[in-house]
């Protein structure tokens, strides 16, 4: 939990460290937690079975990556993560890394 002090409004930048401390979440039961759990199970099952779904005898959610170079746009995923990781720890690196 973040302990707030009267000086916090003057230390907004440095508060990030406190926010980034590990959060120990208490397990909670209740109406909304039940919805989350059942929905999560449903979504996971959907995630698993979707590649097997067939329509008119053939799979419909299948990208055939190795035969379709365009699907290799997935390669940009690591770049996306790098884009978010670096600013998380080092702030804006635009001055050093940006093509502009």
């Amino acid at each position: 939990m973040v302990q707030k002090t009267s000086a916090d409004k003057y230390n907004v930048i440095f508060q990030t460290k406190a926010i980034d401390d590990k959060i120990y979440i208490k397990e909670q039961k209740g109406f909304y937690q039940s919805i989350r759990r059942y929905l999560s199970v449903g979504l996971m099952l959907l995630f698993i079975v979707t590649p097997f779904i067939k329509y008119q005898g053939n799979k419909r959610f299948y990208s055939m990556l190795k035969h379709r170079p365009k699907s290799s746009l997935l390669l940009f995923l690591p770049a996306r993560f790098t884009d978010f990781y670096l600013p998380l720890y080092y702030g804006g690196l635009c001055l050093v890394l940006c093509r502009q």
């Binding site: 979440i25 989350r36 759990r37 055939m64």
Partner: protein
């Protein structure tokens, strides 16, 4: 389609997607469930992390991370089954027969799942997710968000169970459970915050406490600033766009072709004239069979006089495979040009 559904939901219920259906949340919930079963409840986990390194602590951490990694690996395999044959990838991976490309991608997604759901968790929602940032533009006074009833709850203060409510105190007993159950670690009593993912866990925790004290529920609840209905134009606009997208999606699924053909001109020579006086052009024919059955293709042309094609007669492509064929096209030259 997903984008318009998100826009509509965000305008009506705020970040409900983040709290209930986002893959980041779904996997974090699963990983937390595993953590709770192995390391115990919140207090036990804090105690374990603060304790010195021991064989018991090491064993618990090792078991937890092994299970997390196994779940991540399964997730990586499932994700890759969207891009390579689903039935085959599991068998190939277990028998170590996958190509290095596929293995690399599976391990990459394994690592992503493990890091996201076990280490990053809420920081993804707070610092990295672009959706969390731009959805605020879809909020209005009528958007339902998790809200603390300030007038009813304040002034907050502790009290004993079954004690008559002390004068000057509101319904909030300051038990802090709403903060302890929050996946992003915020205090909803401070008001609407960009970190809040609308998961409703603080509502569950508060309702439980209110019941114990025999107070009315919904001190924390889903409510909008004005408690009014959304702007009808925006509401029906989003629904209309969503329906259009659903129509396009259904049409695409229904009409998706079973194969793709691409024709590439042979780059060695523009053309050549053979001994029969014919102009000869070579092409590379690529046929991608997207169906689950063997594809038999026949090459023909129409509407052209003086042309002939030379290629393999039976063009056969295995299911979900691509085949290359060389096709040569011949054109008879007109007599007056032959001796030039």
């Amino acid at each position: 389609m997903a984008a318009f559904a998100l826009f509509y939901v965000a305008s009506k219920y705020g970040r409900i997607w983040c709290g209930f259906a986002c893959p980041q949340m779904v996997w974090t919930l699963l990983f937390l469930w595993i953590e709770n079963r192995i390391e115990g409840n919140r207090q036990q986990r804090i105690k374990l992390d603060k304790s010195k390194l021991s064989i018991e602590k090491l064993a618990e951490k090792l078991i937890k991370h092994s299970i997390w990694l196994t779940v991540s690996l399964i997730t990586g395999l499932i994700f890759m089954s969207y891009f390579v044959a689903a039935e085959q990838i599991y068998i190939d991976f277990i028998t170590l027969n996958t190509t290095s490309l596929i293995t690399g991608w599976v391990l990459f997604f394994t690592l992503c799942t493990y890091v996201n759901a076990s280490w990053i968790r809420d920081k993804m929602c707070q610092h990295m997710c672009p959706y969390a940032r731009f959805q605020s533009v879809m909020f209005s006074d009528a958007t339902s968000t998790v809200t603390y009833d300030n007038q009813r709850g304040e002034s907050r203060g502790p009290r004993k169970l079954n004690q008559v409510k002390p004068q000057g105190l509101g319904d909030c007993v300051d038990c802090n459970l709403c903060v302890q159950v929050c996946p992003v670690g915020i205090d909803i009593r401070d008001g609407l915050q960009y970190d809040c993912i609308n998961c409703g866990l603080c509502i569950d925790a508060c309702d439980e406490t209110m019941s114990k004290f025999s107070y009315g529920k919904e001190l924390i609840r889903f409510a909008s600033e004005t408690e009014q209905h959304n702007d009808a134009k925006a509401k029906y606009g989003y629904i209309a766009l969503l329906l259009i997208c659903v129509g396009f999606m259904a049409s695409w699924l229904h009409n998706r072709s079973e194969f793709e053909v691409s024709v590439l001109k042979d780059r060695n020579a523009l053309y050549r004239v053979n001994e029969l006086g014919e102009i000869e052009n070579s092409y590379q024919l690529k046929i991608l069979n997207k169906s689950d059955t063997k594809g038999h293709f026949k090459l023909s042309y129409q509407g052209l006089e003086g042309f002939r094609i030379e290629s393999e007669k039976n063009l056969i492509v295995e299911p979900q495979q691509i085949s290359n064929y060389t096709v040569t096209l011949f054109c008879r030259m007109k007599a007056k040009y032959i001796n030039l």
